[in-house]
Symmetry: C2
Subunit: 112 residues, 2 copies
Amino acid sequence: MKWTDLDENWCPVARTLSLVGDRWTLLILRDCFLGMSRFDQFVSSTGATRHLISDRLKRLVEAEILEKQAYSERPKRYEYVLTEKGQEFAPALMAFRDWGKKHLPVRRQSQG
Amino acid sequence: MKWTDLDENWCPVARTLSLVGDRWTLLILRDCFLGMSRFDQFVSSTGATRHLISDRLKRLVEAEILEKQAYSERPKRYEYVLTEKGQEFAPALMAFRDWGKKHLPVRRQSQG
DNA sequence: TATATAAAGTTCTTATTTGGAACTTATGGC
DNA sequence: GCCATAAGTTCCAAATAAGAACTTTATATA
């Protein structure tokens, strides 16, 4: 079974996962909430490959969670910003953050 | 980069994703909150392969999110139950559920 | 003119993960 | 002996991801 097959599942959790049930997608959304919006920012912040970021941004735009906006005309450059639908994903990320802070403390300092 | 490499990331969201940032893992947790606890229940409920379920349950037990408990001695049979750490994941799943209910309504009835 | 930089991707090849079905082990019932 | 149940494991083909280099459009510098 493919995970996109979950999009018509009876369970709202499953349907949500068909879109964002993937670590890189969720990291991109985290970055958006931290104020990032550009391709290369997502690449260096998440550590995912350019290929992955490209793919996940397309999905997020198609799902209307992010919106692609031109911020420069020449050369044509785009950035990705949260739609209202995307903004409303905040509680989920905050729940992840809280759980991680409580149950997965960092031992040694590392960078990502 | 491998996703398990996120486990020492500075960001608590990333650390959380290193454990549960995967659709099948989160669906297994959803099932646990719905009262399921057995291997075959997870297989048929999620639609994931036995292989995947086996792998994800191992990770969840290792992370102390689930606990493996014998419910039969002969033959030896185990079930998986949420630990307190696992229970505290509820708010995250509820956030997913709420977002899905609001933003991803089902069109036609389907089963998963 | 030639070179370098920047941003946002795409392309290529190799490695890792997943899918799907069948098989295993232990036990009880008919 | 034969079938069923539960919890996995094994095998191979198919799909995804990793990593690095390349492309495109345009500005800046020597």
